[in-house]
Subunit: 264 residues, 3 copies
Amino acid sequence: MDLSAGVWESLRRVRERSPLVHNITNYVVMNNTANALLAVGASPAMVHAREEVADFAAISQALVVNIGTLSSHWVEGMHLAIQSARRSQVPWVLDPVGAGATRYRTTTAAELARQAPAVIRGNASEVLAVAGEAEATRGVDSTQSSEDSLEAARRLASSLGTVVAVTGRTDFITDGSRVVAVENGHPLMPRVTGMGCTASALVGAFLAVEPDAVLAAAQALTVLGIAGELAAEHSKGPGSLQLHLLDALYMLDEVTVRARARVR
Amino acid sequence: MDLSAGVWESLRRVRERSPLVHNITNYVVMNNTANALLAVGASPAMVHAREEVADFAAISQALVVNIGTLSSHWVEGMHLAIQSARRSQVPWVLDPVGAGATRYRTTTAAELARQAPAVIRGNASEVLAVAGEAEATRGVDSTQSSEDSLEAARRLASSLGTVVAVTGRTDFITDGSRVVAVENGHPLMPRVTGMGCTASALVGAFLAVEPDAVLAAAQALTVLGIAGELAAEHSKGPGSLQLHLLDALYMLDEVTVRARARVR
Amino acid sequence: MDLSAGVWESLRRVRERSPLVHNITNYVVMNNTANALLAVGASPAMVHAREEVADFAAISQALVVNIGTLSSHWVEGMHLAIQSARRSQVPWVLDPVGAGATRYRTTTAAELARQAPAVIRGNASEVLAVAGEAEATRGVDSTQSSEDSLEAARRLASSLGTVVAVTGRTDFITDGSRVVAVENGHPLMPRVTGMGCTASALVGAFLAVEPDAVLAAAQALTVLGIAGELAAEHSKGPGSLQLHLLDALYMLDEVTVRARARVR
C-alpha cells in the first residue's frame, strides 16, 4: 500500500495547526526535541511539576512521556499528566529509554506502558524489556536489531491494545495485526544523542493530526528518516548532522517527501 | 533619540568586564543561554540549589530567573537567590515563561514579579498574564502581538516600579512613562527554542554594565536582534540559525552595530 | 617521551569497544557531553536517580561525576554511584565544577575527592579549591593559569593517591610524581560552554580502555585539543566551533593524531 501521500498530508496539517505537544522528557534531549518539534511546525512545551502537569496535559493536543533521566518526582508527574491526558482524550506516547538496563527503569516503563499509551516507541532492546522478554539492554543503545524484536512488539501491542514502534535500521510499527515498515534513515543518525527521543516527540506531533496511531507513528518516522537522509548528504559528522536535520525538517516539501518516502 | 551609540558602548563594556551572570533557568535552554552569554563576553553560571544559591547571587553582577521548567524546589531557590541579590544590590531579571498557561505558573510568576525585578522580559501573552489582564497563553508561544500588550506593560511597569520588556515583531521596553522600541530581529528566530530566554539572559548581562534598566534591556534586545538578522542571512533553517547566531554575537563590531541598530 | 602513539591506540580501542560511560553531570552540558562521547565511539548514558544509580554504575566501564548543577538529591545519587563503582572496580572521574565559588560546592567537591577517583579534572581555580589552597574561583571560569596550580595539583594527587588533571592553555596531568603536559587546544574553546565537562567525560571513556590513569587523562585531553584545533580552522565563532568539534572527534584518523599530538 502506498502510504507516502499520508506522510505529506499529516506534515502539512502539523504545520497548519501547530499542535501543542506537552513533553515530559529527559534533560539530555530537551533542547533537540523542542527544536525538532518547532522545525516541523508544532508548538512544544516541557512541563513536569506535579503542581501543573495535569492542567497542562489537558490543554495539549498530545503528550510525550520519556523516561531517559527519570527520578521519583518526575515519575509522579508522569502519572498525573497521563491521567489528565486520558480524561481529556489527549493521545500520549511512551518512550521507555533504557528499559532493561536497571530494574527501576524496567519496572517504571512497564507500569507506564499499562496506562494506555497510543504509541510506545523504543529500540529493539527497550521493546523487548517492556514486553518482559529480555533484560538485555546495555545502557541506552540497542543491542538487538529491530527485526529481532518484531514478534515481541506484535505481542506487546496486542496484549496492551496499543501501537508499538520499534526503530532501527528498518522501523516497524504495529498494532498487533497490521505491520508498517519504514526504510528511511541514515547510519549516522544514531551517532547524535537523542535521535530516538526526537522520533518519539515527532510521533506526538503527528498523533495530534492523525487519529490512526499506526499511520501517525509511521508518518513521523518517515519524516524524520527523510530529513536524516537529506541532512547526511551535507554532513561530515554528527555535529553537522544535528544542524542539517533541523534545517531539513523545516524545509521539507511535498515533492521531496513523496519522492523519498519508503513506507509500506 | 539615537540610542544606537549606547548599544555598542554597553556591548564593549560587557566584553571588557565579563560580568558574572547567575542564571536560574529552565532545562531546555541552559546550554543556549550559557553559550549566548559567553558569546557576548559575559561569564555565565547556572546555580539553583538552596544550599548555595544565596551565596552565589551575592557574588554575581546580575541574576536571571526564568520559570520555564519550574518546580517547587526550584521556586524556593529562586526566592532565596532574589532575596540575596536584593540585599547585595545585584539587579535581577524575571522571565515569566508560559505565565497564563497554568494557574501554578501564573501565580508563581506574579509572586516573583513583586520581588522588585529590574526588568521583566516576556512575550505579549506572558506580560498580560503577569499583569492579571489575561489568561490566554497557549503553551509557551505568544498568541498576542507585542503592540496589543503595550498598555498592559506600561501599567504593570508603573504599578510594580519596574521595567517591562515585551518582545515580539517589535520589542517594547517601558518603565511606565518612557517607551523604547526595538525593530531588529528576524522571523526565523522564534523557530529556535528558547530565543526569548536568551533575550532575558542578555538583558542580565547588560544590566551589569548599564544602570538604566530601560536602556540595558533595549540594548540587549538590539544586540540579539542584529545578531539574529546577520545569522538569518546565512541560514536555511532553525538549525543553522542557532549556530550562526552564536557566531554573530561573538563577532559583532562597532560599525555593524551602529549601522544596523533600530532602537528609538 | 613520545606519548602520541598511545593517544591513537586508545582512541582506536574506544571506537572498537564502545565503552559504556555512566555520567552524573550537569544540566547545561548533558547534550554536548553525550554527543562528544558518541563522536569518539563511546556509549554514553546519563543516570542519576538513587533508585538505579548503583545498578547502572556497576554495569558501566567508567563513571563521570560532575557537580556543575549540584543539589542535595543529586549528591546523594553521586555517592551511591561512586560506592557501587568502587565495589565493581569501575574507574571514576571527578569534575569539581565551580569549587571555590560557594562553600557548598567546595565542601561537596572535597568530600567526593576523598572517594578514590581515578582522575580529578578541573581548571586551576577548581583544583586549588579542592586542594584547600584557595577560595578564589569566580563563577565557573578560572581566574588562575594552569601553571600556577601545578604544585597544588601535585600535592593534591599525592595526598589523595589519585591523578589530577589541570586544564588551561597547557594541560598538566600528574599523579604527584609524574607530570605530563598537553599543549593541544585553541583559545576559542573556552568560549563554548562545558568544554571542561566534555574533557572530563572523554577522560572517562579513555579510562575504560587505558588502566594507567595519567596516560588515559593525557590521551583524552590530547584528542579533545586536536579536535578543537581542527574545528577552529573552520569556525568563525563559538557556534561553529561546537559543531565542527563533534565532526572532528568523529573523523580523527591516525595520521592526524600522530602529526598533531603535543603531549610529553
